[in-house]
Symmetry: C2
Subunit: 322 residues, 2 copies
Amino acid sequence: MIDADTLSQASARVAGIVRETPVLSSPFLDEIAGRKVFVKAECLQHTGSFKYRGATNAVRSLSAEALARGVIAFSSGNHAQGVARAAAEAGAPAVIIMPKDAPKLKIDNTRSMGAEVVLYDRDTEDRMAIGTRIAKERGLSLIPPFDFEPTIAGQATCGVEFAEQLSALGVKQADVTVCCGGGGLTAGVALAFERDAPGLRVRPCEPEGFDDVARSLVSGQIEQNPRASGSICDAIITASPGTMTFPIMQRLCGPGVVVSDQECLNAMREAFLRLKLVAEPGGAAALAAALYHAEAFEGDAIGVLITGGNVDPEMFVRALSG
Amino acid sequence: MIDADTLSQASARVAGIVRETPVLSSPFLDEIAGRKVFVKAECLQHTGSFKYRGATNAVRSLSAEALARGVIAFSSGNHAQGVARAAAEAGAPAVIIMPKDAPKLKIDNTRSMGAEVVLYDRDTEDRMAIGTRIAKERGLSLIPPFDFEPTIAGQATCGVEFAEQLSALGVKQADVTVCCGGGGLTAGVALAFERDAPGLRVRPCEPEGFDDVARSLVSGQIEQNPRASGSICDAIITASPGTMTFPIMQRLCGPGVVVSDQECLNAMREAFLRLKLVAEPGGAAALAAALYHAEAFEGDAIGVLITGGNVDPEMFVRALSG
């Protein structure tokens, strides 16, 4: 159970380690959205995404003995880099299980951060079997990407900061769009707002065809996506909301917002032009919702969480060509 | 004469109006530079460059009567946008004299910020004559881009912030690279360091062929550039250092560092990959110096000012294709 104290402990644990990311704005974005748009640039976080917050809190919640043995995570992307860096900084060995066909850059980055990368073949090998064997042999602690209290509480620190920043800007009542995969960040931010800024409401944002959270919020039960791939928003493609994150989202979030891949590319271009930020497709979904689905929101202000910026040059060029 | 009090007055005048820009870092950049690299992301400033600081301080230094009459500036780029926004926020009419062949985006942006844009033909018209006539007719106050105390003192606020941020990071003794055109920012930051952090030393950075400041610092007198165009670093191409900025740079700055256009493009790519920042070519010169001219610096840490991010998509694509 994540309560107000859990959130405070997480904030204390990551203080001075995670970066307080700035809130930016532009009159040009306000004009598109028809209201004031306040963007928290979490793509500027260490390792280029919010995942470093949850990883730092989870790693630093471990005992000294567990840290000495090390941690393990499954990820082909942002969570891998977040855990690798958080573990290295805490002096813990890290094993990251990555698919052989993950982008070379992400594999290299994860290795550069000091992690031992174990590659597996998606077609012929079972990553869970590999991970479980290694974890057991070495006594490693698993750091799950979203359905795990220390991870959720770590992501919540982003919401604690945003609530404070919006309050300083005079925004106490607003929807806040959040890019949503398994719901770790979405649920964490919602818990932070419940405690610190009850006038702020989280709106989960997902790509078309992968709107499991939006549909789950409508049906009242955990829904699955029909496909496992097929969107450029790789960072937020998850089969379904977590069993731990979904009840939190159900209790605290407003309806989900579904955006197209092209809208994410357009939002990346606006972030480039107007905010001088690099957003990855999945990290721009929340901005796409605010800019191109204005009718889904009320009020004269909106908060937006740009969640990651780990995008290949080729994809960024595609967004700029838009 | 800009003294410690002038700097404090400027800081007070712009407080809560200009954005405090973050200081970012990446282990990947540290590895290239061979030392810790701390990057102040001034490209995240309102209007996408530091020019808004000087413009805000200069505009808000005017009397109520002068503000009511309005301001005027000559610029095809970042200073135009900075003055336009600063004037609009202070309720002052603004006239910006821009060349007819300036990028359409920059003309549109300046208009969008509420300024009256007066276009002139570089080949057949004299911009000074046009500006002087309009200024006289309407009683407008001129806001010069660098050789003007309120402008320099406004840019100095960037150095005041950076000194404080570096001190909080434990950096008290280091070179700090600054992209340098006419020297308004360079001189301002140097004055701020002289007052607040005497262990920090500014190193002006310029593109090859336009190293008027570097050569002036060597010869001890104001040197001119042989050409007026021919670098992609348009934001920092100025004929010569200012008569007001040069003596300050001469007294306080270390030797200039000269970088190639290709090094600026490479630095833009690194800022994209590692910091998730959009830098324009001239705004990346200081990062290029830190990364690719490591031998020009001493110590185990370096500060870098990325000064602007107003770059066309086409040029950014060129940097990414690197």
